[in-house]
Amino acid sequence: MANQTTETVRLMIDGISISVPKGTLVIEAARQAGVMIPHFCYHPKLKPDANCRMCLVEIERVRKLQTSCSTVATEGMAVRTATTVVNDAHKSVLEFILANHPLDCPVCDQGGRCDLQDFSHQYTATSRFAETKRIFQKEYFSPLIETQMNRCVQCLRCVRYCDEVMDVKALAPIGRGTMTEIKSFGNHPLDCEFCGGCVQICPVGAITSRLSMYEYRPWMLKRADTICTFCGDGCQITVQTKDQELIEVNSAHSGGRNNGDLCARGYFGFHAASHPDRVTHPLIRRNGTLVEATWEEALLFVAEQTNRIKQAHGPQAFGGLISGRCTNEELYLFQKFMRLTIGTNNLDSSARYGHVNGVQAMRRVQGTHRWTVTFEDIVQADVLLLVGTNITEANPITGLKVKEAVKKQEATLLTIEALQPAVGTISNITNLSKQHLCVAPSQFGAAVLGLLKAVIEGDHVDPGIRQRASDYVSALSHAVRQIAWEDLAVSTGISSDSFAQMAASVVRGRRVVVLAGQILLRSQGGYGMCLNLLDLLLLSGKLTSPGCGFAPLAEENNDQGAVEMGAVAELLPGALDLTDQDSRDRMARAWKEELPLVPGGTLIEMVDRASAGIIKSLFVVGENPVGSLPSQIRAKEALSKLDLLVCQELFLTETAALAHVVLPAASAMEKAGTFTNTEGHAQAVRPAIDPVGDSRPDWEILSAFSVFLGAPLEYGEAKEILKEIRSVIPGYGSLGPSPIAPTADPSAIDRYVTEGYRHDVAIRYTLPPRAVRQEGTVQLGLVQSLFHSGKFSTHSKGLLQIEPSAFLQMNPVDAARFALGSGDRVRLSNNRGQFITTVKVLERVPEGLAWLPDHFAQEALRLFDCVIDPDTKVPSFRTATVSVLKAT
């Protein structure tokens, strides 16, 4: 647990007096004083190792030179870094480091931004080394990361990063002395998370990225700080380009919410934007085929058709879908376009796939649509409860915050996951947990109820809430009493003792953060589970305490923004209720126009209405309902019936292939705007390259539509839309490096505990149906893969090299049961259809479950049943029971 000490010590560095917090290392103190001490092995993220000996300094009253990276500053310490002795020491250490370092700077990718180069230049080091340099034979390392071990200075930063920060332990030093080289752990090519951390942290050119190998010199590159588009963590990335060509991505330490850490998607996935299959020209369907057209033709065509349908069928014949990967500005403009220019509330975004569950639960219980915690709170939490997150794969950087909390701040990690602790090629969060409950995704609800039951029956209910809302507490107590421990044990396979132990850990914590992941949010009854988890915090008295809170994790990079911008049918910008008259009035005043009254249809409702012929025209921005909804919904048939389907797309997706007009949209690398990450922090997106071909940012296209439709929504640049958003949404404007998380609204909590909880308490507090497991079947689950995010990443050549196709992940026991091994073809079937794929045996998959990454699962979608949440209308199609047969 981090005690935020305010104690400071004062020390002198080269005659500069500086006061730093207690426990600061001398090298950091010197940096703050503006004195740069050369170093290789030191990195602020890593524990000091003091192996390079470059940072030697003279400390008064200490006989030998000390390494400043491992010496803690003490009161009255006097450090000298610029004396002749120190300078000679630096020079001599540099001479040693250079001794075996090849002088191949001209062909080294690090040339121009190499620490060793810089220090050699600074100390004008000349080497007296006239012996033979050591040579390592070049060995194949991995498809994306290249090593050149002759350049290695053995600072072990990469090894330590891989272990301490990522918890992957894929790299290891092999050999001894000068013959130490960094290799993958075990005798095989590197197989790890491919976070690129080793490439970023290497001070020399020993580990480099193969994607951008030899393509650039650092001084040729233009840099743009933007936000990664792959998951909800909202990592800051610096995209480096050379002549409109994407060369490399990295992330500056202490920049952004990710603090310089990235995952494989962020580091190696950037090529998706420059894929040759990008739609570069507007396409219009003529005689059944899509042909290239000019923007004028396309816009005019859409305008004519829109006017015709509007006159014939009215505004309710229109619908709109937008992707949660668009910027806030685009989401805002899209809902404004649909609500004002078209005049309908039929609009939805990909937040509907799950994120809405979390947001609606938070709105209902605590009156906020954002987390009440930040990433910093996660790092400083003393108890972390993860439910259905699969955090390493779904939200890797939030996962790093959890790892940091556990490994550095010694937080207690409790996990309820469909995962087994196992040593694997990627890190496994359950390996770090103090207590882990392995539960099948369909039974997360049961596990949450078990925890609630343990809290209530273990008499852990906060006296404050018991006093303030005795009805609420007794209603919940009554509800949990209806559930028998035996039933819970049958459902989850977990004993009451384990639940009691976990409940006690939660209650004991002072700063408790509950993270609910994609698997929970997207599974059946996700809304109820979110409410139950909020009940858990409320009952244990943690909901309103500082540093405590509920944190549902978003899958897409701007799911949170989509909800906040009102790009869902039931919410207005600012996540205000559409049915609320005050909110409507306020929006109408801001927009100087009345809002449509008819409640809008959500995603599934729109598809249904389209197939019923009520909706005649659909505007789709970056969404792909045909590709992502299970075939049971019959999205393809529904969309084929439309009179006008307009798609703004990067690629010709399944939906765009049905469209009447496809308009080329600019990817996030090519436009400006803002993204709101899962913790509710809006961050700036900046263009790195010019739009590819004729593509334009989505907001420009929408703006152009509105002009052609005669109700212009005109903006000069994305910033103007942001300005409007700020004026429309009260309190919006917390753009900045440290967001201030909202606090739970006491009046909302009061409303909830007095009346709000009543109507569905009985439904929420029943055990989810138990899947009857038949012989020869497994429960198939759609999961996120670490190396892909949605369909977009399957256009990235780097990620495709790591994971080129879908595969079924299975427990070794199950695999043995079906006589399968890694690489075998397998046929999955149930009464809805069948699907053939390849098996990969992984120990972290629990027995009886099988996972399929959802980004390639198009074909497999037909196996899944779709259940729609009655409250939030979230379609859930994440699990299916399938029989497994080896395919020949």
């Binding site: 003091a50 053995q154 013959m179």
Partner: protein, 435 residues
């Protein structure tokens, strides 16, 4: 009949002594343990060791009692004792004999130390190559456990002291205490930077004491016969007790000799070890294992105690005395040691890692008569740059042979180089070090 009273080697010098539990008990073994455990408070045991003036026998010569005193007094939780039996220094072979011939003496010492510092677990980190010693120790532990000297309830007092043998995997650096701890934890045997010291953050980040085999083997005698008796032996007040010196090299009778501290090298070499092998005069000797600087025949009258040897510009180290007669090429001898250090440099910190390879290559070149005069200057410079800038003491150790031979036998280097220059053999065929 030996000239001095033997303490550590006494039992094993008895004819027919096999080192079994019965024989050790018959020779008065485990009496010290019986005397102390459960009867004398642990702090008094520590005090007794402090009073005896016992200093570490592993190399650094740090007072053992003081080391124990560094453990945090009020720490709740496990503490550990590690017995450093990773004896891999060229010219040192005392621990092996102590373990193979009289294992119970060591075990009694370990249990006493455990009792004194409050450790419930002790690990004997033994060099991987000492297969026999490890086997004998395992057997002895089993015997002692059966007899109730080791285990959960020692002699019925309710005190726990478990002893495990952990075999190393063949790295000299694991004799360095922090590298030993890393290796015990299952990691790469690389030294940790200090502070924090093992006394506070040792094995598994718990307070830990690391003591040498010979140090621990002394404990039964100190406790059994009293610290005052021990303090009276040797050359008090700083260097008390006896030491087992491993005499090797060009002597008539190489072997382990236990003598009180304070006798002279001349006595050790000429009386105990029987003098020079071929009766040539002595040219050089290493007083304390490979990491100690060489001394010359001028230093034969230096007393064998920590202070005197240090004053002579070397160190008593691990007690391995390697003797070289007249005619030994000193450059070659230094190269031989340097090659050992090059091979054993763990590679953690740059000066040692790169310096050792640089030094060894330069030395090889000089020995192969391909040196240049500048090389001598480079050698001195490199040695100075390595010394004191490394994580552990290995840096000091590896430059010792070169620095001392350059100090006393610089002319030999110069001769080699002059021959090289005369033969114009400066051109080298590059020998590429293949991995």
């Amino acid at each position: 009949m030996p000239k001095y009273e033997l303490i550590l080697l006494k039992n094993m010098m008895q004819p027919g002594y096999t080192g079994s539990l019965q024989e050790y008990e018959r020779a008065g073994g485990y009496q010290a343990l019986r005397k102390v455990v459960g009867k004398v408070p642990p702090t008094e045991v520590t005090m007794a060791v402090m009073k005896s003036g016992l200093r570490g026998r592993g190399g650094a010569g740090f007072p053992t009692g003081v080391k124990w005193g560094f453990l945090p007094k009020d720490y709740q939780g496990p503490r550990y004792l590690c017995c450093n039996a990773d004896e891999s220094e060229p010219g040192t072979f005392k621990d092996r004999q102590l373990m193979e011939r009289d294992p119970h003496q060591l075990l009694e010492g370990i249990v006493l130390a455990c009792y004194a510092i409050g450790a419930e677990s002790a690990y004997i980190y033994i060099r991987g190559e000492l297969v026999l010693a490890a086997k004998i120790l395992e057997q002895a532990i089993a015997e002692a456990q059966a007899a109730g000297y080791i285990g959960a309830n020692i002699l019925g007092t309710g005190i726990t002291a478990n002893v495990w043998v952990h075999r190393g995997a063949g790295a000299y650096i694991c004799g360095e205490e922090t590298a030993l701890l890393e290796s015990l934890e299952g990691k790469r045997g690389l030294p940790r930077f200090k502070p924090p010291f093992p006394a506070t953050n040792g094995l598994y980040n718990k307070p830990t004491v690391v003591n040498n085999v010979e140090t621990l083997a002394n404990l039964p005698h100190i406790i059994g016969r009293g610290p005052e008796w021990f303090a009276s032996i040797g050359s008090p007040p700083k260097s008390t007790g006896t030491r087992v010196f491993c005499v090797s090299g060009h002597v008539k009778r190489p072997g382990n000799y236990e003598v009180p501290m304070g006798v002279t090298f001349r006595e050790l070499i000429y009386e105990h070890a029987g003098g020079m092998r071929s009766d040539k005069p002595l040219k050089a000797f290493i007083p304390g294992g490979a990491s100690a600087p060489f001394l010359t025949s001028d230093h034969l009258d230096v007393k064998l105690d920590f202070e005197s040897v240090a004053a002579a510009g070397s160190m008593l180290g691990s007690g391995g005395v390697t003797v070289m007669e007249e005619g030994t090429p000193m450059v070659w001898a230094a190269l031989r040691l340097m090659e050992f250090f090059y091979h054993e440099s763990c590679g953690k910190c740059s000066p040692c890692r790169e310096g050792s390879s640089w030094l060894v290559q330069t030395m090889r070149r000089i020995v192969a008569k391909r040196g240049q005069m500048e090389d001598l200057e480079t050698l001195v410079d490199l040695c100075k740059n390595i010394e004191g800038r490394t994580v552990c003491a290995f840096g000091e150790a590896e430059v010792a042979p070169i620095m001392s031979t350059l100090k006393y036998w610089r002319s030999e280097y110069v001769t080699l180089i002059q021959e090289a220059e005369a033969a114009n053999l400066i051109r080298l065929e590059p020998t590429v070090a293949r991995h």
